[in-house]
Amino acid sequence: MAECHPVGFQWVMEAKRKGATIIHVDPRFTRTSVVADLHVPLRAGTDIAFLGGLVHHVLENDLDFREYVVHYTNAAAIVGEDFRDTEDLDGLFSGYDPEKQQYDPTSWQYENAPQSPAAGERDPGQPAGPAASQEPEEHESARSEQTGSGGPTVQAKPERDETLQHPRCVFQILKRHFARYTPQLVAEVCGVPEEDFLRVAKALTENSGRERTSAFCYAVGWTHHSTGVQIIRTASILQTLLGNIGRPGGGILALRGHASIQGSTDIPTLFNILPGYIPMPHAAQHRSLEEFVAEDAGSTGFWGNMDAYTVSLLKAWWGDSATADNEFRFDYLPRLTGHHGTYDTVVNQIEGRSPGYLVVGENPAVGSANGKMQRLGLANLEWLVVRDLTMIETATFWKDGPEIESGELRTEDIGTEVFFLPAASHVEKKGSFTNTQRMLQWRHQAVQPPGDARSDLQFYFELGRRIRAKLAGSTDEMDRPLLDLTWDYPTEGPLDEPDAEAVLREINGWDDSGDALSSYTQLATDGSTACGCWIYCGVYADETNQAARRTPHWEQSLVAPEWGWVWPANRRILYNRASADPDGKPWSERKKYVWWDAEQEKWVGEDVPDFVADRAPDHVPEEGATGPDALGGRDPFIMQTDGKAWLYVPTGLADGPLPTFYEPVESPVRNAAHRPQRNPALEDVAEPANPINPTESRVFPYVFTSYRLTEHHTAGGMSRTLPYLSELQPEMFVEVSPRLAEERGLEHAGWATIVTSRSAIEARVMVTARMRSLRLGEQWVEHVGLPYHWGANGLVTGDSVNDLVGIALDPNVHIQDKVGTCDIRPGRRPRGPALLDLVEDYRRRSGAHPAEEDDA
């Protein structure tokens, strides 16, 4: 965190000053470790084993925050008789289809729960989309994409045993499931000595209860794994057991890496969702608006109003043309048939099915996994638009990409037409970023963009205008969504830029008299409201840009509610009803945040209460109530369909209702925890340029992991071009332990070549005791640490780490492992075709090959 988010880290230092214990768990000794009370190096990709060990420790020693767990989680819920755990099935859950590498989650349901179509219904015989041409059937994961911000739906509140003794209650299942995650197993899998592990366990559990909370912070060290979702699930289970969710000083905090990566998920430039985490409709089951909203409308909690959110979105987009009669133009939405993630797109590009590509403020030739695949895709386009501040590698792959050097591609043979359009910087346009804590902050425009540089807002507005002009008069039904689109934003300034505040106002939404809405609770199903993103509703309340609020922190409370605007409803801590005990009283004076004021008969406190404002703690909903009305006074998790935090996930995940440790796709060791080596529901990407190193390969004996440095930013486009940052870290380097350096004859400050079955890159060597040799039983494991910021362009250049990374995806979110196996050898890499020979030699010797259908 100190390494990648130094300014955010000031709050950790603040906590430390007040006596907090800082524990840093990371294969790498970073700038965070420097000031941590304890640094625990573990083998990259073994987080589920480590966290699972902590869960085991909590359950085994009855150290959970029982009152919290009983009332606020689904620990008491009874699971159906058909469920079989990994303990029963040798590392697999019930419902696994080994041929398809997929789970049928039907058996994971609560007892007596009606089948949830959202996650339960399979879609047999569905033809593959182009991207999935290697897979005869659509992956279940495509379906797990289709749950919105409410999470997957369960249609009824489960049976509960609040004594937690029922053998099929979640608590008991959890206990059995994690029983094997002993300190010994943690040591064997993670390379963390028992004593260290127990120190972490002790610190965490001693810091749990009414008086104390602990927070977890993570970044791509957890997400970029083929089991990434389940890693975070494990942390969620642990934090929930310890009562650390919805309370000040608690939580699981994602530290995101781009200025508005949260915003681009909320208002998604993502294939699987619409603004506000409304799923994209699926061809199989969403033939009508009615079908689309059916499974969610009527469920418990605020997600039960998903129909109103959807209709309001359609009204925002298609305006007057969207009416109840035409289902508010629901049919104008394109449908999914599978997953269309970025790596599917790349496969489509390589295979010639997707010839047009617009890349805006991103540099896949350096920043995306398997750089070669990215560039082979780029080279097979008809046209490519790149918008950026500087000449990034994605725009110049055709003249100086690694494949040109190696002779795989020739510039003259590449037919891609490339448009490089200069972009406006953050001070040359106005608009809002949503930061990692869901806070929208408005930026005012300081200066005009230089030359041809334009904001992306203007680019897309202008592109839309031109397309609509070219199609004007078309009677073709395929052009109706474009022609009926509301696309008439006011423009301003010397460049006729669309007014970003007008766009924000549309995102916020308005009522039928055109006034800005102030809350998503106002959204209606009858088309009387329009709202571009329901969770952002309120950002323009009172016709005021709430994101532009800047009351200095010294003029307000620590929560600082008058700075920017946080979705939803300017609420700073989600699920903060849980900061009070079941009776609505603060758990303790120290941890007072939101509580029930019996006199005023409403929830009050430091923050906007995340609850129905006047719902008393003892409220019991009527039988058959739906939506927010179905929430009881002790159901703090108001977006969950049962109002409880889920220790066990009965539906919605592609790879199991509970986290289970599987090795990364490429690993130097056998899975010591379970029989299956890799995530059984893993998504392989079958491409010749994407071979996978075999497990326990002697040819690829080391673990590589890629990471960031404080001094650079992601793929380098915004840092390798700046002298002040380039001089701080001027060259690509690789970090290795003294032991590995000795083993491979690597010299400090000399050169090394790192090889995987995808490619080989070179780097200067940093031999440092900060890289730790880990001992797993009889075996040593060495990490090869790779900062990934370099590429061919800019002030400082170097080989790109992502060229080494293979692609095999987490089935829930389609994100790849950032760890894998490699070899490292002294000296620089070969140039030209000799590089290909080297990699080919490694492939041959290791037996690495692209994924195939039967590759389990």
């Binding site: 003294p738 350096a741 400090h748 940093m766 031999v767 440092t768 005791a769």
Partner: protein, 307 residues
């Protein structure tokens, strides 16, 4: 492996910055200043005692030394166009400031004296100028020792007691030597004596410097500066002895001995300059004496407490 933290330095890097002064500018200036300053003294003596040949040589040496020295000094500036800024202030804490205020009038006065002597014009004014230069000469010849010593460069700073004498002696040696080279032997007696006396002072002061400085004096004894210093000592001794014993009898001996002493003076300045540079580059010369000082203070404090 990332070099382990060393108790002595940060990755072996120097702690202080070696001077940015250029060679040959600065060592040459040190030499020229000494030569000019001592020559002015010699010239005045010659004038008083009626040795016109010696006076002329010495006047010219003083003037040329100061002139060339000024050129060397300005050339060493990284912003030479701003050399006049040297006269913005007079700072007693800055030997370079004080030196500028010595050098500027000295240059003018010595030039006037030399011009008068060569042209025969304005003899009284010339004489007065000569006396003025003479008054400044000894300071010009020695302030450069403070210039070097008033730095954090260990080999220079720690030598601040001896360096002025080394420089005075070296200046006298040079002035005497130069005069010996260009003055008929019958008028060169004082020059030879100055040369010999200077040589004696310089050798004695150098000896004391290297012996007193101990470890910090290493650069004066070792490496290139050590070799320069050694050559200077040999030339000084040989030249001084020869001049004293045979300089009066043979013009050749006088000339050669004089040249040897001039060369010795040049070598001394280069030696001292480079010894300082070497001591700045190696952090041990900065760290070890300081650490020793701390130890001594701690020991003293402990004994005071015990007492």
């Amino acid at each position: 492996m990332v070099p382990e933290a060393s108790p002595d330095s940060y990755y072996g890097r120097p702690i202080i910055k070696p001077p940015t002064w250029k060679t040959p500018d600065v060592p040459l200036y040190l030499f020229l200043g000494g030569l000019a300053g001592a020559s002015a003294v010699l010239a005045e003596g010659a004038a008083v005692t009626g040795r016109p040949d010696l006076e002329r040589v010495a006047r010219v040496a003083a003037s040329a030394g100061a002139g060339l020295g000024t050129v060397a000094l300005i050339h060493d500036l990284h912003r030479p166009e701003r050399f006049l800024n040297m006269l913005r202030v007079l700072k007693p804490t800055s030997p370079l400031s004080v030196g500028s205020w010595i050098l500027a009038p000295f240059s003018g006065l010595s030039a006037a004296a030399a011009a008068s002597d060569l042209t025969g014009r304005l003899p009284r004014l010339g004489r007065a100028a000569g006396m003025g230069a003479t008054a400044l000469g000894p300071a010009l010849a020695t302030y450069t020792a403070a210039l070097l010593a008033n730095t954090a460069v260990p080999a220079w700073h720690d030598a601040h007691r001896e360096l002025p004498f080394v420089f005075a002696g070296s200046g006298a040696t040079a002035a005497g030597g130069l005069a010996c080279m260009f003055t008929p032997t019958d008028q060169a007696g004082p020059a030879r004596r100055m040369l010999a006396a200077g040589a004696l002072v310089e050798l004695a002061a150098s000896e004391r410097l290297t012996s007193r400085l101990g470890m910090v004096g290493e650069p004066y004894r070792e490496g290139r500066p050590g070799r320069l210093m050694k050559a200077a000592r040999v030339l000084t001794a040989v030249g001084g002895t020869a001049a004293l014993l045979a300089g009066g009898r043979s013009r050749t001996v006088s000339t050669v001995a004089g040249a040897a002493c001039v060369a010795a003076s040049v070598l001394t300045r280069f030696g001292i300059f480079e010894a300082g540079m070497a001591s700045a580059r190696d952090p041990k010369y900065t760290v070890e004496p300081q650490r020793e000082r701390l130890r001594a203070r701690a020991a003293q404090a402990a004994s005071t407490m015990a007492g």
